[in-house]
Amino acid sequence: MKATFITLLLALLMPFSLIALEETHTVSRNDLGEVDALESLSPHDILDHAKAVLEHGEEVANVEANKLVMITEKFGVSLPTLVAQMVNFCLVALALYYFAVKPVTKTLDERQQKISDGLQYAEEMKVQLAEAERERAAKVKEAAEEAHRILSEAREQSKELIEKKTHEAAAQAEAMIRKGSEATERERQKMLSDVRQEVARLVVMTSAKVLSRDLSDTEKQTFADSATQELAGIES
């Protein structure tokens, strides 16, 4: 914005500069033509010529002064007015600078700062995004490796579990078979015992019936005597 303002000032001062440049150029061309003619004259002539030139210069200066006065009068330009206009222009320019250009410049600078900050932020975000992308890729890779490891461990564990369960099932089956065999053996022994008891009971009952029916009184008396002897014999 400062550059724009300076450019505006230069544009306003451009006519004056062009006028001064044109005058300088005109004088230089006249001087060059006269220098070429002087090279072919004698010193005395040169002195005269110089005098004449001085006079002519004075005349020209007077003419130029009259011309300048004529121009200024023709265009209505006077030095106080010009100075006042320049002062006014400077005041307006200063007012514009402080009340319009400076806030606008400040706003533009802030906006520019915001834009640059935004761009920097965007750049940082881009870097962070790239970093995050790298981290994400690394984490994905790590997660994939972890998943692979977990899967392998799970497979190993499932394999071990299957083997363990198989062994347990085999052991349980063996235990069940053993228990079944033991139960069968116990049942068989119990049945044998029951049969033996029943047979013994039947034998005893049958023997008792047979003996009670078939023994005669004499035999009973004889047995009683022998039993008495036996009791006495055992205890003696």
Binding site: Q197, V203, A208, K220, Q221, A224, A232, E235, S236
Partner: protein, 131 residues
């Protein structure tokens, strides 16, 4: 119910007084009962009950119950009486009891001791051995 120690000792003393030659006799028991009736002990009923129980036990201990399905001759009875008197070192009276379930033989019970020489007892022991 806890027995009174003094009553127990008194009942046992009465039982000893009822014995004649180590044997409880009817006369001895009658004299003791007569004395108790005259004395009227403070725990008269309890003493009598205990005395009765001890007399029963003494009679059981000095009696050999001979069970047999047939009659035993006197010689066998005397043999049994002599044998158990000698065995227990006290006078044992023999009481004959008929028991047809024994089939044949003799079973003698003295107090809580049982001596079995019967066919039923032998068969029972045989059955128990077979079991």
């Amino acid at each position: 119910m806890k027995k009174n120690v003094k009553i127990v000792q008194f009942a046992k003393k009465l039982v000893e007084l009822s014995k004649e030659g180590g044997v409880v006799t009817e006369a001895g028991v009658s004299e003791v009962l007569k004395a108790l009736k005259q004395g009227q002990h403070r725990n008269h009923l309890a003493v009598l009950k205990l005395f009765r129980n001890y007399i029963r036990r003494e009679i059981t201990l000095q009696t050999a119950v001979v069970s047999t399905p047939s009659n035993l001759n006197q010689a066998n009875l005397e043999m049994i009486e002599t044998h158990f008197t000698k065995k227990y070192n006290r006078p044992i009276n023999v009481v004959l009891q008929q028991d047809d379930s024994l089939i044949a033989g003799v079973r003698v019970r003295v107090g809580d001791d049982v001596y079995d020489a019967s066919i039923a007892g032998n068969l029972q022991r045989l059955a128990e051995n077979v079991y």
